[in-house]
Amino acid sequence: MSHHELDARRLLCPLPVIRTQNRAKDLKPGDTLEITCTDPGALYDIPAWCRMFGHEVINTLQTREEVRITLRVSAPCAKP
């Protein structure tokens, strides 16, 4: 199990979700991924995407400038 980071700053919906999805498919179950975004919509979209695919959101943090979401990967995704 390892920790990974994804910089999705300056990207607008739905690109933060797309980048998260594409990164998560290369990770192993149990790995954690911390995504940093500037689009506040990511605070809704990434957890929604996690619920669909069974990934666990283990932390969210919103500041004035950024949103940080940390998830724990469950199973691999389909090929995009």
Partner: protein, 366 residues
């Protein structure tokens, strides 16, 4: 059927498994609008395993404008396709097709609609991409929320077969909302879905969809299909045409088409245009591009940030500063101090007289 023996080893049958069959799998195109949501739900209700797919072209209306504009704070900042897939209870795969989609926008085989909307080519492209995904992931057929007669280009009785043929999906493309008005497809012939439970919606009347949504308990849904693409927007296509004309090439990058969605666009001279933020959210967004463009803003008064797109001389910058001053709180002042940051050059401040409204021809506005 389970195999009794494999590689010389004896396997025992589980009697329960003899009667269990793997559900057929459909990939549903999910736009975020109501129709695709209903189509996916109809398939789920027939016991089909449905997963959604959504293609990001860069021309989507909802997410970007809501993310950028402060004035859209009242609306939920969410991706409608994700949200509607969650309402239906299916997974959604969002696929970036920005680069591949350029050819659809730039060279549409079937031409444009009222604006720069290549709807028929677009539908064919998306169904083709869905077919490729279906084949890669072992799915059986494709579902869309199309309704005969709902859209003037891509959803007509005579163009629906074109989409099925040109996408390579053929009879693996099922449109549950109007299937009874169309020839049988493979999923119907094979008995994977019950044709009797499919629908016969047609035309632009949306009452049947609204009633069906109510019967499913969908109390909230995004705007009807067709309103989610900037290429159907008259103002946006004026800006895109202007971009192509002035660059003398019919091409674009993602940043180009994002910037066309934001701010006031004015072209006072053929060699440059000005993109002026209209509110705080847009100014913040434009601020992210300041390193890539010559940009200017008023320092003596509150006002917007403006990006200069083009190659400019001092006279052009003076005009740009006077124009910018017009959109600042100093619009009625004798002079406004504007700070100019040339791309790759040193910043300087100049005092300018704001342009009077009569000095800004309507033709400058894109």
């Amino acid at each position: 059927m389970p195999r009794a023996a494999e590689s010389g080893k004896l396997h025992f049958y589980d009697p329960a498994q003899l009667f269990m069959t793997e559900p057929r799998k459909a990939v549903a195109l999910i736009s975020g609008g109501l129709d695709s949501m209903l189509a996916a739900r109809l398939m789920r209700d027939q016991g089909i395993h449905v997963e959604g797919i959504n293609f990001f072209t860069g021309f989507c209306v909802e997410g970007h404008t809501h993310a950028i504009r402060s004035s859209k704070q009242d609306k939920p900042k969410r991706n409608n396709a994700l949200w509607s897939a969650e309402q239906v209870g299916i997974k959604l795969h969002i696929v970036d097709v920005i680069d591949e989609y350029k050819d659809v926008v730039i060279n549409p085989k079937h031409g444009y609609g009222a604006h720069l909307n290549p709807c028929l080519d677009c539908k064919g492209f998306m169904v083709r991409k869905a077919r490729e995904w279906m084949e890669r992931n072992g799915f059986d057929f494709i579902v869309t929320g199309e309704v005969i007669g709902q859209r003037p280009m891509s959803q007509r009785r005579d163009t629906m077969p074109v989409v099925a043929r040109e996408s390579g999906a053929f009879d693996r493309l099922l449109r549950p909302l109007c299937a009874k008005l169309l020839p049988e497809t493979l999923p119907e012939r094979e008995g994977w879905v019950d044709r009797a439970k499919l629908l016969d919606f047609s035309g632009r009347n949306r009452k049947p969809q609204i009633a069906l949504a109510a019967s499913f308990g969908f109390t909230e849904f995004a705007q009807p299909a067709g309103g989610c693409c900037f290429l159907t927007d008259a103002n946006y296509t004026v800006r895109l045409n202007d971009l192509w004309t002035n660059r003398r090439t019919k091409n674009y990058e993602l940043d180009d088409i994002l910037l066309l969605k934001i701010g006031r666009h004015l072209r006072p001279r053929p060699n440059f245009k000005l993109i002026v933020g209209r509110e705080e959210g847009e100014n913040n967004f434009l601020n992210g591009y300041r390193r890539d463009f010559t940009h200017l803003f008023a320092v003596s008064h509150t006002g917007p940030l403006a990006l200069v797109d083009g190659i400019v001389n001092d006279a052009d910058l003076d005009l740009a500063a006077r124009l910018l001053a017009r959109f600042s709180q100093g619009r009625s002042a004798d002079k406004v101090t504007v700070e100019i940051h040339p791309h790759g050059g040193a910043a300087r401040a100049i005092d300018v007289v704001p342009l009077h409204p009569d000095e800004i021809p309507e033709s400058w506005y894109l």
